[in-house]
Assembly symmetry: C2
Homo-oligomer: 134 residues x 2
């Protein structure tokens, strides 16, 4: 009988025990953000249906939306051909994934040799985080 | 006067001088693949309009489509909020991005605790690469 955690064993983790995670809006297809997961974060994401990451800068679990309320409800989890990258298709609560208050972290597009901010700030980060960190 | 390469200086490279690159189909929004670029690859991508990566396994430049013909025509280049991930929106020539002969490298979806291959193989890899490597 296959154990329910066998799928985790198929993921090829980095030396640091992490896997890159791409997050995409399930409806619009917009790529919202890129982050990392450790095994526990990926397991919790699948079990809870909410995106959980590993913050490399803070060296701690990062339950997306814990401070901001901008939870990502995971509709689908995908794995790539090499087994070393995961893709989350999510519903983005609040319509804001980025800590700058924008829909997507990918809000700058290269135009005429410059990165131009395309997406508007939908909410002041100070109002999202109450002056605390993300 | 701003130099045309200033935009490259805004990218935050890893210790190894790389940046993660997400490739997305410009029309359908499907995430096609994930790879890495060094500075030269990103510069060439922007200049040529064709996706160029750095192959970490082969430790060499990887001009996508060179063996397979499955060139990615870059329509847009995006940078994320931290400046450490790029997103390419492309036209995928041949409709195949994955070396397995599928549209996308993300062809396995988690279902009932298993990774299930969803996307069909559109072309036998042996026919794509003529039995050589990708």
């Amino acid at each position: 009988m296959q154990k329910m955690t066998d799928w985790l064993a198929e993921v090829k983790w980095t030396e640091d025990g992490l896997v890159p995670a791409i997050v995409q809006d399930h409806t619009s297809g917009r790529v919202l953000m890129f982050a990392w997961m450790d095994r526990a974060a990926l397991a919790e994401t699948a079990a809870s249906g909410r995106a959980v990451f590993w913050s490399r800068s803070r060296r701690s679990v990062w339950r997306k939306g814990e401070s901001s309320g901008h939870v990502q409800r995971v509709r689908e989890l995908w794995l790539d051909c090499d087994g070393d990258v995961v893709l989350l298709r999510v519903e983005q609560e609040g319509g804001i994934a980025c800590h700058t208050g924008r829909l997507s972290c990918f809000f700058r597009r290269l135009q005429d040799g410059r990165w131009e901010a395309i997406d508007p700030v939908l909410k002041d980060p100070a109002d999202i985080y109450g002056d605390s960190s993300r």
